[in-house]
Each structure stands twice: as structure tokens, then as C-alpha cells.
């Protein structure tokens, strides 16, 4: 893997995570438990799509084949997507979405914070914007964890179940692939192993306050660093890419 290939894949990964997470959250439109939450969740979706656009645009520049961010989002097949599997899992009920957002935001805050000091100025710039947004996303999901955890028996058990079910998808967040190792040396990427204890501490603090038990680390799902996904991603792309695929000559 050349440094340029590493940078391309790394940037794609950042873009894909935001794109797929944003896509899933956008499914909440008109389905929120209250209007305020409908707006909050689609607002987080909007932040994510904006971030995806910036990262994918940069990825297209790095690739140097004259593609646009939309080509990368709408014309790549499943096996060339590198988003974490947790982002593509179905939105489930409100507890699943909140649990997912907590686990992801608690990772993104330190990730973007570290990347905002990347020696790659473009990544640093996008990450600086991302960290501000992900702090809001974290606070939103944290506060809902408190409400659901300590709300009613039902909300407590739903949140507990969601955390339990999602836990096996959190190992992937910290996997160091070849591109990470290459870019770490150049000061572009972040040592994900260093983020793991920070993430764990943040998540544990929130869940303890919310009276939710923290699951044991068991077998973790893996594959996204190599473009291997759950069955869900194919369906997301079939829907998301439909117009671009059905009318390849059209611009919108």
C-alpha cells in the first residue's frame, strides 16, 4: 500500500462512517417520539452528511481520477465501503438509536479532537468542525441515556438490551489496519489503541450514571476495514444509490 493509497482509504473510511450513520439517522424523519426529537435526530443526520461530503470530496481529490464526492457515495459497490458495521445496523427503536449514537459519539469526540492536529491540513480542518458537532451529539445521546436508564422499567430494559446488542460492534472502532500504521508514522492518522481507554471511560461513566450495566468484552464483529459488512449495507446502498444507478447519464 502506497502512502497515497493509505490516505485515500483512510479518508474514505472517515467519509463512509459519516455517510452511513447520517443515512440511518435520516430514516427517523417523521418517526420521532416527539417533534423535538425528530428535529434533533435529523439534525445529527445533517451534520453527518455534511461531514461525509467534505471527507469524500477530499478522498476523490486524493484518488485523482476526476471523480466527485457524489461518484464515491453513489457509484461504489458494497465491498468498497469502509464504514464501521455499527453505523449500518438498523435504527431499531429510540433506545437502539440513542445507544448507537452514544457509542459512536464517545469515539468520535476524541478521534476528531486528535485528528484536528493531523499533519494533513484538510483532514485537520474537517475534523475541527467534526469535533464541535460530535460534542453536541454526545451530549444529546448522554442525556437521553440518563432519561431512559432512570426513566421507567421499560425504558431501562430497552436501553440495557440495546447496549448489550451493540457492544459486539464496538471492537471494530479501534482496529488498526495497514493504512492506520502507515499514516500514523506521518502524523496524519491517530493511534486508535490510545483512544480505546478514553472511550471506555466515557461510556462507562455515562452508563453507570444511567444505571445501565456495561457488557463484558466478548467476541467482536470485524470486517469493515476490508470492506466486509453486515447484510444491511447492501440494502442501504440499493436505496441510496437508486437514482444515480437507474439514470447514469443524469445530473441532478
Amino acid at each position: 500500500m502506497t502512502p497515497q493509497e493509505a490516505l485515500f482509504k483512510y479518508t474514505l473510511r472517515l467519509g463512509d462512517n459519516a455517510l452511513i450513520q447520517g443515512h440511518r439517522l435520516s430514516e427517523w424523519c417523521s418517526k420521532g417520539p416527539i417533534l423535538e426529537e425528530d428535529l434533533a435526530l435529523t439534525n445529527i443526520a445533517l451534520d453527518n452528511i455534511g461531514l461525509a461530503q467534505a471527507f469524500l470530496k477530499y478522498a476523490a481529490d486524493i484518488e485523482g481520477k476526476g471523480k466527485t464526492e457524489d461518484d464515491l457515495a453513489y457509484k461504489r459497490p458494497e465491498r468498497q465501503f469502509y464504514n464501521h458495521q455499527i453505523t449500518e445496523l438498523p435504527i431499531g427503536d429510540f433506545a437502539v438509536t440513542i445507544a448507537k449514537q452514544l457509542l459512536i459519539s464517545a469515539f468520535e469526540v476524541p478521534l476528531f479532537s486528535a485528528l484536528s492536529h493531523s499533519t494533513d491540513e484538510t483532514i485537520a480542518g474537517i475534523a475541527a468542525k467534526g469535533v464541535k458537532e460530535s460534542r453536541y451529539h454526545f451530549v444529546h445521546s448522554r442525556d437521553w441515556c440518563y432519561r431512559l436508564g432512570e426513566g421507567t422499567e421499560l425504558s431501562h430494559s430497552k436501553l440495557q438490551q440495546a447496549i448489550h446488542d451493540l457492544w459486539a460492534y464496538t471492537g471494530e472502532l479501534f482496529e488498526m489496519a495497514e493504512e492506520d500504521t502507515i499514516l500514523l508514522v506521518a502524523g496524519i492518522a491517530v493511534d486508535l489503541e490510545e483512544l480505546r481507554p478514553l472511550w471506555k471511560e466515557t461510556v462507562a461513566t455515562v452508563l453507570t450514571e444511567a444505571t445501565i450495566q456495561i457488557p463484558e468484552d466478548g467476541t467482536m464483529h470485524t470486517g469493515s476495514r476490508n470492506g466486509v459488512h453486515t447484510e444491511h449495507l447492501g440494502h442501504i446502498l440499493a436505496e441510496m444509490q437508486y437514482l444515480q444507478r437507474a439514470y447514469p447519464d443524469a445530473t441532478w
Binding site: 435520516s26 417520539p33 441510496m240 444515480q244
Partner: protein, 309 residues
Amino acid sequence: MDSLVQTTAFQQKIDQDLNIEPKDHMPDAYRSHLIRQISQHAHSEVIGMQPEGNWITRAPSLRAKQILLAKIQDEGGHGLYLYSAAETLGISREEMIEQLHSGKAKYSNIFNYPTLTWADIGAIGWLVDGAAIVNQVSLQRTSFGPYARAMVRICKEESFHQRQGYEIMANMMKGTAEQREMAQDAMNRFWWPALMMFGPHDGDSPHSGDAFLWKIKRKSNDELRQKFIDKTIDQATLIGLTVPDPELKWNAEKEGYDHGEIDWDEFHRVIRGNGPCNKQRMAHHVKYHEEGAWVREAAAAYKQRKNEF
């Protein structure tokens, strides 16, 4: 019973073009008229999120997806201001939602039509928001203060939506034959329902009399509809869309277009609940409201617990 003194003072304020504020005296009929109108307006914003939301996951570019998401968020935000404006009249949001579910409260008929292709997102922004603006600009001067102020803010956002919708249509008309066909088809399906958004002809409008006297309404249905037609036809022609009305003709004397008769049978059929999506829209709203009940209960229980300490 309102005293004669109070009623006279109220009408004097109206006649002097002063706003009525929530704590001011107002006749019960004025209050209930506004609750009906503002809650219907709020519900329309909220139900309108469904046909547009139908295309969020299939929006054809990242930019298009962001614009659509932001637009739908604006609509939800309008719903919030309007529910709040109605709450100042002494009804809760929960009660308004109950009235929506029971069928007592209505929402705009236009959202009972389906969004079948991406061009429909353009048509909704351009025609539906375009029609809504004409009505809402006139409501900026409505007599009830909170409603008038909500309209000022809403109009600013709606005019963005209208331009964005028009941009979708214009881009499609510059595109492939399939895109042009899609755009024209959306125009054909949304034109007449958009005209129906202004309501029945002035002679057949059941709520208008008092609404004019109280200056809730400033312009008649037909006046507003004419305004919309006149500004929209030039926009359609400019990008090569045909308005699906063979009787459309410039009338130099009135300096406006004459148009063919609206299909009032269709209008009444949809109002009575027999449009293409009435049942679907309500079932969706009811389903997600009910599915969200445990979340609202949890939030309330948590709040109560925290207040106890």
C-alpha cells in the same frame, strides 16, 4: 358571556389594526377560530414531513440530501412555533394531536397526494411551498400577534424552499429526456392540487365572514389563488414546463390569467378522507406517536424523579 364593553374594545383594536395578544380579551369564537386555523396549519407542517421524507434516503446527491433534510427540519420547526402559538390560546399540543387523530382537526389536503418520483420533491418545494407563501405573506398581517410573528419567520424559510424546489425542476428540465418527462409529470399531478390549497371559491368559503371582520384573513381565497397563478406561470414557461390547463389565457383587462375550473369533486373527495394517501398519512402519524409513548413516559418519569430531589 362576553360583555358588550369587552366585545366593543376588542373590535376597536382590530379596526385600528392593533394585534391581539394572548392575554387580551377576545371573543370565544375568535379564539376557537384561531385554534382551528393555527392547529391545522401546524398539523400541515408536520404531516408534510411524510411525503418529503419519503425521498430522503433516495435523494440523488449529497447536496440534494442535505437540502431536503434541512427543508424538512424547517417544516418540523414551523410545526413547533405554530403549536406554541396555538398553546397561547389555551390548548395543549397533546390535545391538538388527539384532535388530529380523531379527525376533528384537519391538515392541508395537498399532503394526501403521493411523492412518486424525485421530481415531486421539486414540485412540492416550488408549487406547494410557493402556494403556501402567497397565503402566509398575507397572514403576516393577521390580527393575532403570535400567529403573525410566526408567519414572518416562516415566510423567510419558505421562500428558500420555493427557490430550491424550482432549482430541482429547472435542473431536471435541462437534463435527459427521462428527467424532463419526470418533471412535466410532477407538474401535471401537482398543479391542480396546488390550486386547491387556497380553498373553495369565495362564494363557497364557510369560514370567511368572521375571519375578515376579525382581520384573521386579509385576502380572499380567489385573490390569493390568482396571485399564485400569475407568478407561477411565467416561472413554468421559463424552464419549458407546460401548465396542464388548456383554458389558461392571459386576460389583459384584469392583468392576470383566466384559468379552467378546478375539479371541486376531487377537492371534496380528498377532504372527506378519500384521497390517495389520507389513511396512510394518519396511520403513520398514529403509529409513530404510539410507538414513542414509552419514550415520553420515560422522560416524564425521569423529570419527576429529578424534581423530587
